[in-house]
Structures are given as structure tokens and as C-alpha cells.
Symmetry: C2
């Protein structure tokens, strides 16, 4: 066991810090009775959704557990699959609990103490989620590494990753459908038809909308990064044998397998340090600078750790090169995302300008921006692959992913902070708190919008690298010498694989459309049935809207999520490992492009709308504004449902292939 | 020389039939003086655009000619490049001439003789284009095959294909920008702002709009299929050596190289027969049935020819299997395109239904339809690859493309007929001919809309197969044993390659946006400057609008088109042949998907708008109608600029790689 025990110990220590932060948050006052009541509605709605979602998923997980066990005859893999799924649930559940505690307390801190305290409450709530994601990942993987011998862990740990990815895909798709159905329904009927403002308590869908922010942006994002994080570590661990061969045994497989885990554990510790430096107390708080400082501190520590560990454990500095490649790719993709989606830069302004001639030209401009935004990230990823390989072979590509994700603790903290601040604003509005309170939460929320966009870019980049690492692991496990594009089944597989993200996007967008329509009908029905609602004399039926979103999300998430598991299974069984290699490469390349395009186009449309609302090109209510609202409606499922789920799709497809690789190798393709 | 002389002889005979049809069309009366005048404007505008476009392209072609000559030291390839470019120009020019003669005569035939004669004039005008495309292709390739020995032709004929593809990409992008700038400008200001009907002579952009139909849909489509046609034949010809090896010399390389050409020449003859059976004279003409009959006759003859030739020349029926695969893929893709883009089926109706809740939901539905429509075509292509390979190895994949394109003569005839009928309707409207005339042209046009959508699907499918054949040719010429996705430069290349279609789509959509804005400003300016235009008392300045479209198209087509030539050159020179293999596979897969998605989403939006205009969901002028107009505006560049150019992009990239393969092999990658 020896030194490897450090990994779960660091994880447990970090989780203790999270528990401390969580109890600090609990001690903050919840505010007025109205605030408590509204926060209670949101919390109950979110918890009810999670509970029902998890119950649905238990069935899927049980079926896959049995399939893994019997098809592979390896029950350790199957058990690790359960553990991975359970840890993903736990991370999502804990993050959600503290987020729904933090939102109302943020609002109250803004009311009682001002910006500094509000920032602290919101950020620390997000930090609990961040530490849980990273800490539970390291606890699970680290404990498994300590318990099992190196041969067994290498063979079975992929089960853990597949469990995490399964839950993540369901969570992202379900949460994404939930949040957008509620959002579109609340906006189109409430804001556009009835003319009441955002987050108005008279809107029957307003609670569902706020619940959606939590289940979509908090739990969804958390489980997304949890699965990339585990995937990256698992692929590096699995490729450790290659290092042993390449160094003629000077570095043992055990050491090379422990290296990514230890690196990630140190990254977790660095993230905790970074998190603790973020403090809004004091005068002239700049939320954005404060958050950035924390991130830079964590990254700086991690780079030093990487250099030292690389030399000490693997006897060469070159491995640190691969890790730093990953960190740099993450930063560049984040910056590009900001340039393409923030109204401080030209692209968003261009969309607003083009919207003057109507929604059509605004949409063309937005799609153009989304497509154009793929260029630099893809060139970065391509360069990163070549450089990381140059530094440390195929293991290096996996290490780049580990490096990029090693400080995921603080990344998630920064990203999860956004929706918490957003929720706080909603609660302030619904509780009719004074204007100043809303001003503070708006400022926090504005920073959160940028961090959310950057977080999405980061999630895509890290998922791409992690899936790439798993793709190489797949070839390694399948003992494929090559996957040649000149082999007709590979090129046929490539086409089919590239089609999967298009099919997946179509399914999820249609689901959002369907669910949103149900919500629209319900909100209209309530306004018609009881005119007292709009007059403010009677309360709308929030529960009914929460229920519609919940049911629609649970119903619609099944088929897209199963696609990711069954496409690789069917191709692998029917056409063999090489064809599946082509399929995975096709999905990976097309999926990353679609994810970047959709996330950035959606973010840009959203901010173009906000830019017009600030008074540009006619401001709120003008024809240009209406045109940008259309763009935002299209952008909603792009950026919050289809786009971000794409990351997980490619990871889940790849890790399913890795887990079942022994089966495919045994069958060798039914049709060939 | 021997038997190969048959190929150019059949081509010359077919071209004589085209000349006969052309002179028959010339004898039809042009109608009233107004009709003559308007037709003259359209003809002059189209010819002026083509002239200026070709002058711009002469520079590019000259530069590439010199690069090929010096970089490869092979001036025969360079000369064939010029010949290929010249033949493409000739096909486009001849087709355009007869189309701009046929449009006014179709209108007049409808006026004087009714449906039957009008159908004959419109279809025969399209047929001249179809025969020119196929005939000039066979004349050029056949003559080169007769003159050069087998070793030389195999090495140099790719130059011919690259010339054809270069011209096609410029033509498609330039024509696409031209037609959409004029269309969007005419619609947004004329129809929406000023409230005048389509094709109203008071609209200053109306002539430019009609010119656009010709340069975009007639010349663009013609040069598109010309390059796929040549590409397919060239790849089969280049892979003939493989057949000689596989059959241990029982089939000579010469015979296997001649086979695709002879097959295509017979397909040309079959197309001419099919064309001659289409006759609208007689009672109860059903244009759709008449066109379909011609196509089925041509395909039926071709299947018999394929079986006989396969057995006689290649001593086995299996080769015919590959050819029939190609024909079937073409039919299936055509049918799927129809299902997803025709208002007779559910998908278009769904878009119209979703548009009731606004443009946003209508757009989401349309994008979903476009993405969903990729599934069956991609599975067909993948299955086709595997089956064709099963029947006849890598040569079989090229043969599938040849088979699909062998009856391109009648395919182009059917597709080109649509815009001619559309133009005839425009002329009837502008000349204020009686309502019955417009009714006839509308009926012809409605059939044309379906055939145009099917034609686009066919063009994409054939381009995909032809590019795939060329991709295999590239590997063969580069003597690559494998292009393994486990090689980091290949997977990096795959990412970059998959990004190119996104970048290309962004560039072309932005270009349409920019050009359309210039047109919008000009039309508004004319209406403001002279109120007599809208009153009908003074004539608008048509020339100015034609000039804006022309200049914008010429300016904006350069960068996207150069991308297709320089990306493979740069990757090949800097990173070597394997990396380029990955890049080509990435572009090919992502490009085909984007092409199908964009073409079908665009077609579906267009027909959803028409479906609402027919009186569904509130009909013309309703909010639902306005929402579908937004969809149509987004769909315009999708289906007429970016989508269809994508086919040529992937072909031009691949054939550039084939032509320069010896250079890349010599350098072996500057950075590796």
C-alpha cells in the first residue's frame, strides 16, 4: 500500500474542509419568512427532482451492472461501476444541498452585510461542490488503488469511470431538459406574453426556473467535470504499463499509475488553498479579481508540484511538459470562449448589430460566431496532442488531460458560484427585497455569467482530452496495433461515429422543444383559469410546473443517454474493435466541434440580448431586442442542453468501449 | 488506342444531341417585347457575372498551374489542370446560355401553348446542361485516355479533376453568395418592408434575384456535379492497378482503367435516351411522372450495361455489385431528402407547427430536422462502403461513386429544369402575363422544388463517395500502408480536418450576411431616393443591384475557396502524408454531415414557409408565417451557399492532396 494511501487521505482532509465550509454557510441567517418559504420551494423541487432522477437511473445502472458482470465475467469491474455511479450521485447531491442552502443566504448576506459577505457565501457554496467533485473522485480512485493490486486495478478501474459517466450523461441531459423547459416556458409566456418581469412571483413557472438553474448548472456541471476528471485519471493509470516498457523498467508500472493520482490529489490540495484565499471581506471588493486570484494560486502551486513529482517519481522533467500543455490548453480555451461570448468583445456586438435587420440575420451571425469559435480551440487541442505525445508518448496525452483537470476543485467552485448568485437574485426579486440587494446579486451574477461561459469551454476542452486519453486506452486494452483509415470498416465507422453527435443534438433539442411546449401550455392555462394570479391576489400553482419539468426531463433523457452506451456496444459486437475505433474517433472529433459551436453560439446570443437590453441598438422592447430574444431562445438548448451533454456523450461512448473491449476482442465482429 | 476511342465518340454524339436540343429551343418564340427586354436583362446580368467571375479565376488557375508545374515538375498534370478548369467553365457557360434562353421561352410556351410545351422547353433547356456536364467530362477524360499511355494518364489525370474542382468551388461559393445576397435583399426590403409581391418589377433587386437563380442553381449545380463526376472516374481509373494485382493480371490495368470511362459513356448514352423520352406533348401531362420515367429508363439501361460490361471486361459480375450499390445509395439519399424537406411529410409540418410559438421554437425544430436527416444517408454511405469493398475492394468504392454518377446527364437535366421554370414564373410576373400563365409555371416550379432538393441530396451523396474514392487514391499514390488513428499526428489532423467545414461554413455565411446587408441598403436607398419606383411611375436601377451582387460575390468567394487548396498543402508539407490523411478523413466526415444537415434544414424551412403560405396555421401574414420567414432567411445560406459548397470543399481538398502527394512524400513533413 505504502505511499498511495496519501491520495485518499488528502481527499478525506479536503472533504473535511468542505464540511467545515458547509457548516459555516448553515450558520448564516436565511432572512425573512418569505425568503425562507421561497428557498424552501426551490430546495424541495430540486431535491424531489434529484430523487426521482436517481430512482430512474437505478434501473439503468442495475441493468448495465448485470451486463458488465455477465458479459465480461469480471464482477470487480461491475462493482466499481456501481461505486463510480454512487460517488457521482453523492457529489451531485451534496453540491446541490449546499447550493440550495447558499442561494437564500447569499441574498440575505447581500441584504444585511453587502457585497463582501454575499460573495463569500455564494463562492463558498460553490466551493463545497468543487471540493466534493475532486475529493470524492480521489477518494474513490485512491481507495481502489490502495485495495487492489496493480494488475487488477488496471483491468477494472474503467468500470468506475463508466459509472461516473453514465450518471453524468443522465444528469446533464435530464437537468438540461428540465432547466430549459422551465426557462423557455417562464420567458415566453411570462415575460413576452404577460409582460411581467423575470423572476416575478406571479409566474407559475418561476420556481421551476430557479430549480432548473440548480439541477442544470450546479449538479449537471459538477457531474460533467467529475466524469472527465475520473476519465483522465483512469486513462493515465491504464497507460502506465507503456511507461514501464518505454523506460525499460526504470519506472515501474505501479509508480507511473500512482503518478496521475498523486498529481490530482496535490491539485486538490492546491485548489483548497486557492479556495481559502478567496475572501470578499474588506473594502472595494472586486469579485472577478478575487476569483481569478484563487485560480492562479491553485494553478501556480500545481505547476511546481508537477515539475517536482515528475522528476522525483518518473525521473524526468519531460512528463511535466505534458501536464503543463494541458493546463495551457485549458487557459487558452477559456480565454477564447470569453472572447466569443462576452459583450466586451466584437463578436457579441456583431450579433447585436446584425439583429437590427431581423432575427434571421442575427441568427446567421450567431451561427457564424459559434462555428468560427471552433478554430483556435481545435488548433490548440491538435497542437497539445502532438506536444504532449512528444514529451511523454501516449501516456503524455492522458497526462495533459490530468493536468488540465488537476485543479478542477477550484474550477467547479468558480463555475458553480454563478448559478448560486443567479438564484440569490431570483429569491431577492420574488421576496421583493429592496433594489440595492438586487444590484449586488446582479453584480455577482454578471461575473458568474462570464465564469460560466469559461467553465463550459473548460469542460469541453477537458472532456476532449480525457476522451482522447480513453481512446488511446481503448486501443491499448484491445491490443490494436493500428486503426487504419484505409480499412473500409474504420472509415465506415468514422462516418457513423461523426453522425452520432448530430443525432444526439437533434434528440435533445427536440426534447427541449416538446417539454417547453408543455410548460407553455400549463402557464397559459393557469393565467386563463385564475385572473387573480396576474393581479397578484392569488398564488399560482408552482408545484404543477415543477412536476411538468420533472416528468418531461425523466421521460426525455432516456433515449439520448442510452445511445451513448448502445452505439459502441452494437458496433463493437457486430463489426469488431477496428470499426469501433473509427466510430469513436468520428464521434470524438465531430462531438467536440459541435459542443464548442453550440456552447459558444448559445453564450453569444444570450449576451447579445443582454447587450441590447443595456440600451444598445434601441434597448429593451425594440425590434432589435425582439430579434435577439429569438436568438437566445435558440441558444438556450444549444448552450445548456445539447452542447454541454456532448462532452459526456463522447466520454461515455469511449469508456463503454474500454470496459467492453475484452468482449469485442473475443467476438471479433459478428459480421466479419 | 483501340476501343477507348468509343468514349470520346459517344461524348461527341451526345454533345451533338445537346446542340440539336439547343437549336430547337432557339426556334421557340420569345414572346412580347416586355418579355424579351426582361429576359435580356437577366441574360446580360448572368453573362456579365460569369465573365467577371472567370476573369478572377484565371489568375488563381494560372498561379496553381505554375505551382503544380514547378513543385511537381510534371507539366502534363499542370496542362490537364488547365483543361479540366476550361471544360468546367465551358459546361457552366453553355448550360447558362441555354438556361437564359429557355426561361423566357418557357414562359411564352406556357402563354401560347400551355403546360405540355412549357414542360418541354424547360426540361430540354435543363437537358442541354446535363448533356454538357456529362459529355464534356467524357470528352476530356476520354480524349486524354486515348492520347496518353496508361502510366502517364494514371499519374497525371488527377490534374484534370483538380481543375474541375477548383472552378466548381469558386462557382458554387461565388454563385451562392450572389444568389442569396440578391434573394435576401429583395425579400427583406421588397416583400417585408415595402409589401410588394415576389418578382414585382418595382423591386430594384428583382433582376439580380433572377440572375442569381441562374448563376447559383444552374451553373453552380452543374459545375458541382461535373467535378464529382470527374472525381469519381479519376479515382476508379487511378485504382485500376489494384485490380490488375488482385486478379494476378487476368484483368489488365488498362482494361480496369477503361472500364469506368466506358461505363460512364454508356451512362451518358442512357441519359440521352432517357431525356428524349420526356415529352410533355399530349393530354393530361403529369410533369413529375414524366421526369421520373426518364430517370428510371436511364437507370434501368445503366444497370444492364453495368452487369454486361462487368462480366465482359472484368470477367466477374461482382464489379456490377459495387456499381449497383452506388445507384441504390443515390436513390435512397434522394428519397430521404424528399421526406425531410417536402411538406407532404411530417417533418416540414412539424416545423410549421412549432413556429406557432415563435421563430425561436421553429428554428430549434428546423435544426433538429436537419440533424436528424443525417442518420439514414450516413448509414447508407457506411453500408455502401463496406458492401462495395466486399464486392470489388478499394476499386469497388470508387466504382460505387462512378455508378451513382453514371446517369448524371439526366440527373442534372431534372435538377436544372427547376430554376428555369422558376425563372419563367418570374418573367411571367414581371411582364404582367395573365394569371393562367403564372399558374402553369407555378405547377412546373413546384415539381422543380422537389427535384432540386433531391438533386442536392444526390450531389452530397455522390460527392461523399467520390471524395472517398479520391481519399483511397491519395493513400495509394502516397504508398501509405496505413493511416492509423493511433498515430498522434493523424488524430491531430483529424481534429483540424473536422474543423475546416465549420470554418468554411462560418466564412460563407458571414459573406452572405455582409453581401445581403449591402443589397438591403441599396434597395432602401432607391425606394427613398425616388418614390416613383414604388408608385410604378419610374423604373428602378436594376444594374446597380446586379453590380452589388457581382462585386460582393467576387470579393467574398476568394478566401473560402483558397482554404480548400491551402489547408492540404500546408498540412502535407509541414506534417507529412499521414497527418494529411487524418485531415482529409476529418474534413470528409464532418463535411458530409454539415452538408446534409444544412441542405435539409434549409429545404425544410423553405417548405415550412410555403406550407404556411398555403393557408395552414394562419396563412400568409400571420405571426406563424413571420416566424417561418425567419427560418427561411437562416435556411437560405444553409441550403444555397454553405451546404452545397461543402461537397466541393471536401472533393477539392482531397484531389489537391492526390495531385501533390508526390511532393509530400518527398518532403515527408517539415516538422517531423
Amino acid at each position: 500500500m505504502g505511499i498511495s494511501i496519501i491520495v485518499p487521505l488528502i481527499a478525506i482532509a479536503a472533504l473535511c474542509v468542505a464540511a467545515g465550509l458547509s457548516s459555516w454557510i448553515s450558520k448564516v441567517d436565511e432572512g425573512t419568512d418569505t425568503m425562507k418559504e421561497i428557498a424552501g420551494h426551490i430546495r424541495d423541487g430540486a431535491m424531489a427532482f434529484l430523487r426521482r432522477e436517481y430512482i430512474t437511473m437505478v434501473i439503468v445502472v442495475a441493468v448495465v451492472f448485470v451486463i458488465i458482470g455477465f458479459a465480461l465475467g469480471n464482477w470487480i469491474t461491475a462493482v466499481l461501476y456501481l461505486v463510480g455511479a454512487a460517488f457521482s450521485v453523492l457529489a451531485g447531491f451534496l453540491g446541490m444541498r449546499v447550493a440550495t442552502k447558499g442561494n437564500v443566504r447569499t441574498a440575505n448576506a447581500a441584504r444585511e452585510s453587502g457585497m463582501g459577505k454575499a460573495l463569500n457565501v455564494a463562492f463558498r457554496s460553490g466551493a463545497v461542490m468543487g471540493i466534493c467533485v475532486s475529493g470524492l473522485g480521489m477518494l474513490g480512485l485512491g481507495a481502489a488503488f490502495c485495495i487492489l493490486d496493480i494488475a487488477t486495478i488496471t483491468e477494472t478501474v474503467t468500470g468506475f469511470g463508466m459509472g461516473a459517466s453514465t450518471m453524468a450523461l443522465f444528469g446533464r441531459v435530464g437537468g438540461g431538459i428540465y432547466t430549459k423547459a422551465a426557462d423557455v416556458g417562464a420567458d415566453l409566456v411570462g415575460k413576452v406574453e404577460a409582460g411581467i418581469p423575470e423572476d416575478d412571483p406571479r409566474n407559475p413557472a418561476v420556481i421551476a426556473d430557479n430549480v432548473g438553474d440548480n439541477v442544470g448548472d450546479v449538479t449537471g456541471m459538477g457531474s460533467d467535470l467529475f466524469e472527465s476528471y475520473c476519465g483522465a485519471n483512469i486513462s493515465a493509470l491504464s497507460l502506465a504499463a507503456v511507461v514501464a516498457v518505454n523506460t525499460n523498467g526504470a519506472v515501474s508500472q505501479y509508480t507511473a499509475a500512482l503518478f496521475p493520482l498523486l498529481l490530482s490529489a496535490c491539485g486538490l490540495a492546491a485548489s483548497v488553498l486557492g479556495i481559502l484565499t478567496v475572501n470578499g471581506s474588506g473594502k472595494n471588493v472586486n469579485p472577478s479579481a478575487s476569483l481569478n486570484r484563487g485560480t492562479y494560486i491553485a494553478c501556480g502551486i500545481e505547476i511546481i508540484v508537477a515539475i517536482v513529482l515528475s522528476k522525483v517519481m518518473l525521473q524526468s522533467f519531460t512528463f511535466a511538459g505534458a501536464i503543463i500543455c494541458g493546463l495551457i490548453i485549458g487557459l487558452v480555451i477559456g480565454k477564447v470562449t470569453e472572447i466569443f461570448t462576452s459583450s466586451d468583445y466584437g463578436q457579441v456586438k456583431k450579433i447585436a448589430k446584425e439583429s437590427q435587420t431581423g432575427a434571421g440575420t442575427g441568427l446567421i451571425a450567431g451561427l457564424g460566431v459559434g462555428m468560427m469559435s471552433t478554430v483556435v480551440p481545435i488548433i490548440c487541442i491538435a497542437a497539445g496532442i502532438i506536444l504532449a505525445y512528444h514529451f511523454a508518448g501516449t501516456y503524455g496525452i492522458a497526462l495533459a488531460a490530468v493536468g488540465m483537470l488537476s485543479t478542477v476543485g477550484i474550477t467547479v467552485a468558480v463555475v458553480a458560484y454563478g448559478p448560486i448568485a443567479d438564484n440569490a437574485g431570483g429569491i431577492a426579486e420574488m421576496s421583493e427585497l429592496p433594489e440595492e440587494v438586487r444590484d449586488i446579486t446582479d453584480q455577482l451574477d454578471a461575473v458568474g455569467n462570464t465564469t460560466a461561459a469559461i467553465g463550459k469551454g473548460f469542460a469541453i476542452g477537458s472532456a476532449a482530452l480525457s476522451a482522447l486519453g480513453l481512446f488511446i486506452t481503448y486501443a491499448h486494452v484491445s491490443k490494436l496495433e493500428m486503426v487504419s483509415l484505409l480499412d473500409p470498416v474504420v472509415i465506415a465507422g468514422l462516418f457513423v461515429g461523426a453522425m452520432v453527435p448530430f443525432l444526439f443534438a437533434a434528440l435533445t433539442m427536440n426534447s427541449v422543444g416538446k417539454a417547453a411546449n408543455e410548460m407553455i401550455e400549463e402557464v397559459r392555462r393557469q393565467f386563463r383559469a385564475d385572473p387573480g394570479i396576474l393581479a397578484g391576489t392569488s398564488k399560482p400553482d408552482y408545484e404543477k410546473c415543477v412536476d411538468i419539468s420533472t416528468k418531461a426531463a425523466l421521460r426525455e433523457m432516456i433515449i439520448p443517454a442510452l445511445l451513448a452506451i448502445f452505439v459502441p456496444l452494437i458496433i463493437g459486437i457486430c463489426f469488431g474493435p477496428e470499426a469501433l475505433g473509427g466510430t469513436l474517433a468520428g464521434s470524438l472529433s465531430a462531438g467536440v466541434l459541435m459542443a464548442i459551436m453550440m456552447a459558444n453560439a448559445g453564450g453569444a446570443w444570450d449576451n447579445a440580448k443582454k447587450y441590447v437590453e443595456e440600451g444598445n441598438y434601441g434597448g429593451k422592447g425594440s425590434e432589435t431586442h425582439k430579434a435577439t430574444v429569438v436568438g437566445d431562445t435558440v441558444g438556450d438548448p444549444f448552450k445548456d442542453t445539447s452542447g454541454p451533454s456532448m462532452n459526456i456523450l463522447i466520454n461515455l461512448m469511449t469508456i463503454t468501449a474500454v470496459v467492453f473491449a475484452p468482449l469485442f476482442a473475443r467476438i471479433g465482429g459478428l459480421f466479419f
